[in-house]
Symmetry: D2
Subunit: 348 residues, 4 copies
């Protein structure tokens, strides 16, 4: 990668839904005349021009043009994911009453790897008892060693989807490569981009063309700005239904698997309008401390949690050392909801 | 420093209060005969032999000897600060009803630097209104640049102490060097060892000889084990009234001053019987996020908070950017107590 | 990603070139009977069974079987890239007398981004004058911001290839995604996997199926073992013509763009039979220090250097701040060769 | 510690040797009138006013005053150690023809810990055979665990000094605390400040009052600027005979003891006029790679090396795993000198 990314001045122009082609051309002409380079972004929700230039100008020059709904200046390196131009936080409606929003605590739980029908049914039964509506699980597993179990693949996903639909459960699972986006599409509700793919820019770009939500994990040593730029990639290629996920970073400390960075949560909420999800399981990577990291995330301001649960963690194909069993998971869910209630009651 | 620290087997032998010299000699002889090297540790609270060796032996061989109160095996590199040998958590009684213990949330607040009588009186007035009994503040300031303000020194401490005593307030302040321990002694209630001195082993050793509590901050890039070993230094030279403090570590992320490591809190509580204090002010170093980091620390299990407050942070001699004003501090204290109550009620 | 990677015992069985199907089946049967799981690996150069199990066994049980050329035990997490089983270091022959081997210093130079025909011709002219045979340059650029220049794409590569071939110059360029492997194939000599794709396991897997060499860069916060496992991915899916590249890691120090990790060079040479290339340009990211980092790499034991050069760095589309101009590059090449000569003369 | 260090404009005023009190007062008055705060610094070599302020002014206003030898503006946070005001590099003359300067490679070698007379004599014999004039060794050892060997103390230093003097050998050894400065003074030639004391500001301040050279090691996670500020502490309290030492930093990589940061060497040489010494033994911490890291340091521009050598490393009291034996050390010294010669011949 190269430096010299342009961090000059940016203006976000929200366009009217029914803007006409000649109106758009006129706006682009005006933007160019001001020495700004416009990039057109069309998502399922909106239509924008992201105009990047050097010298600030009076945005009212643009604001009064036909076809312009609103104009904002953004000073951040990331643009469309910035909170500077958007009133309020973004919510994501998954249908059937499942919504990710600042008003409730989104819970996503399940095993590290999908292992078979029995495990799927058992997990779903457990989730339903807890009122958890989104199930996580891997069918394509990124593994450091090529000789490790890499997941059961698309067939397992098809089966999982069938059982989940029968039970009103939504599915989030990791997408490893561009060529999997299309085959997975029918069977998932949220695409997850893992830490190792957090700067796989081609994958991010292609996920912008899909009309399903994406959860982007922070890279192993990704900065806050890196994560926001990764989300910007997806948004700017057309998909604004995005979530940001803190899952621990790599530091010198080897007492935990990763160092869960709780600081990222209030900062991301300050910088961006996107929902922020915490992954305490990977974050600390030690089963008995997962609950405490989750609770810390809630009071730090996260909008949801994604965590690992398995009927018998010690027999799980992977990640057993950081996975809760059902009894632990039940206590976890109850406490998380109580604490979220406390947060709301206190206006925190 | 050198490697090759001995991490073999350790046995902690608690001695009876009225042990006689010949009994002690006999025990030491037995320990030596087992191939272990005993170190005698005498604190204000207890009397121990720390016996380090290679091959484990049946500790009942020692347990039945005259003068032995109890015997435990410890597998950690740190010994006397380990939770493996002690029943329950340690509490520290500062007198006048001020106690640091797992049963209540200890609060220590005040400015980065002591600036003068008006500031001292104003701060104490604020703390009293909040029911905060311990005041922090620096009179000897470690500064990266030799040309920066280094604190008002011992005279300011004497004045501060006088006003604090009149108001029933306890004092915690940083000690920078061995030669300051004695002059400070009369005027403080808790010695604080800062991050930059976290492995100043001579200072730690000398603080072991004093009968006042010590709060040890984690080093800039200190590991959990480093911090526990630093506490072990003080304990093993005679002072067991110790607190451990998480205050953020140095990572690649530059969006915050330090990266507050919330993971350290449950881990330290698991490993050690000592109270764990969180410093959210230095931890994230950004005023508007201090409260969220503090709340995260509470549900992660800390026993107390140390934070910076100033009547007019923007005019503070130092650290203004991470210091709360009185109104923020009042809300902070109220929420911290409410949340601690929630934690206790839920048995967390 | 998940933990619990199997790090038990591994046996690498090199098979005879003309092994017959029933012989292979018999060997696999024996391996299975010993409780080992065999993975067949067929590369352009060799044919192997990588057998992973728990309990070590006497490898002579396998060594005498028909069809077995050689058997070795490997204790590392990575297997086929380990130096434990291979006599001597691997060399990579690019044809036309261009060889990457421990006996000479491989030099790869060129701009960060390919910018057009004039720049290509000028660079090639410069490289020929210096006797440098491999040209680097990006046509698909990974950029943190989606609004940054992303490279001229495949058309520029076709043009570059044509001019390079006329001048006897080999091409190394970055591949960003699986779908680009095939279109790029005809026009490149070495695929480069960038730091951000260092654990893009699908990309690595697919590059194993191609018969062109691959240079794998260490991830932003990749460990030595991570890098070797990434190479293992490619090797185990069929391509053993691989190079490892140190390009700086992410640390707390912000005085340089990255922290070039010179320690990695002797360690990688100790652990693996693959050539090790240093990238001093990205490694430190500051033009005036690039030469010193390169020299350090040479005496630390690297087999080659990849660095950035541009006729007018201050006008380069990207990375100008770390790019040498022609005069600096000439001195650099001369000194690098002299120093490599010194290293060889001294048996270092 | 606190932020808000003043990084405004600084002017260094070199005063004439025979400046009179009224002249000095006049200069200080003028500096104050310009809104600058002057700090008087008197070292064994020079006499300075360090004037720190906000708004730059024309330094000729000061330059013509009586008693002023020279005036320079310095933009760095560190001042007197900056290369911006000093013509040429500083050299340190230890007497008897032992000089640390850019024109030759300073070599300091010896065991981690001083273990007794035989070891001292054997080491000195070895050093003399190699023409090494400075011996390192610890008598006060900083140890992570309080139960580890902490060195033989002052008596061993007295003995060592006696034998060293008989053999024309200079001594460098670590000083742990202010109270040791005076007792050690008579027996040492260079005080060493270890990584854990790199920001022990009181120790640094007191070392400024002594007329013996000081080598300051970079902290475990110290930045380049931290190291320069630590040296500034000593310089500004009166001692300008200083050396900077790179000894490896703490990163996420656990394959080596520390991550030797070769990048620091050219940067420190660029920023400061002080000699830069590399410690490859602690830097990588693995015996068989110490030589390669040392060679890398030489071509990166260091002025000297400090490394560990022991007759039988495997029996050393400490650090055996990173200590060379005599035969390795002899080869090391020869190659280091040859390579330094190469560097000088090539004007590198």
């Amino acid at each position: 990668m190269c430096l010299q990314e342009d961090k000059g001045s940016t203006v976000i122009i929200q366009l009217e839904e029914k803007i006409q082609q000649d109106q758009l051309a006129h706006i682009e002409g005006q933007v160019n005349a001001l020495g700004y380079k416009p990039t057109e972004v069309r998502t399922q929700q909106g239509h924008y021009l992201v105009a990047i230039g050097k010298k600030p100008f009076d945005i009212r020059h643009i604001g009064h043009l036909d076809g312009v709904a609103d104009v904002h200046r953004v000073s951040d390196a990331y643009k469309l994911v910035s909170k500077k131009w958007k009133v309020g936080y973004s919510s994501i409606d998954l249908g059937d009453g499942v919504v990710i929003s600042p008003n409730e605590l989104a819970l996503m739980a399940g095993p590290c790897s999908i292992e078979g029908e029995d495990q799927i049914r058992s997990t779903i039964q457990h989730l339903k008892e807890q009122g958890v509506r989104i199930m996580r699980g891997g069918v394509f597993k990124p593994r450091t060693s090529p000789y490790s179990f890499r997941g059961l693949g698309i067939d397992a996903l098809v089966l999982w989807h069938k059982i989940a639909r029968e039970n009103g459960i939504k599915i989030i699972t990791e997408v490893l490569a561009v060529e999997d986006i299309e085959p997975m599409y029918e069977y998932i509700d949220i695409y997850q981009v893992g830490a190792r793919n957090s700067q796989n820019f081609r994958l991010l770009h292609e996920l912008g063309k899909v009309d399903k939500p994406v959860l982007v994990k922070r890279g192993m040593s990704g900065t806050i700005e890196d994560l926001l730029q990764s989300a910007e990639y997806i948004f700017s290629s057309g998909n604004e239904r995005l979530m940001l996920c803190e899952r621990g970073i790599r530091t010198y400390e080897s007492a935990y698997r990763n160092t869960f960075d709780v600081n990222a949560i209030p900062l991301l909420k300050e910088k961006s309008h996107l929902p922020v999800i915490a992954d305490p399981s990977h974050g600390i990577g030690i089963r008995k401390f997962v609950e405490q990291i989750a609770m810390a995330s809630i009071v730090a301001g996260c909008d949801g949690l994604i965590f690992e649960v398995h009927e018998t963690p010690e027999e799980a194909f992977s990640d057993g050392q950081q996975t809760l069993n059902y009894s632990e998971s039940s206590r976890f869910v109850q406490r998380a909801r109580d604490l979220f209630g406390f947060r709301m009651d206190h206006g925190m």
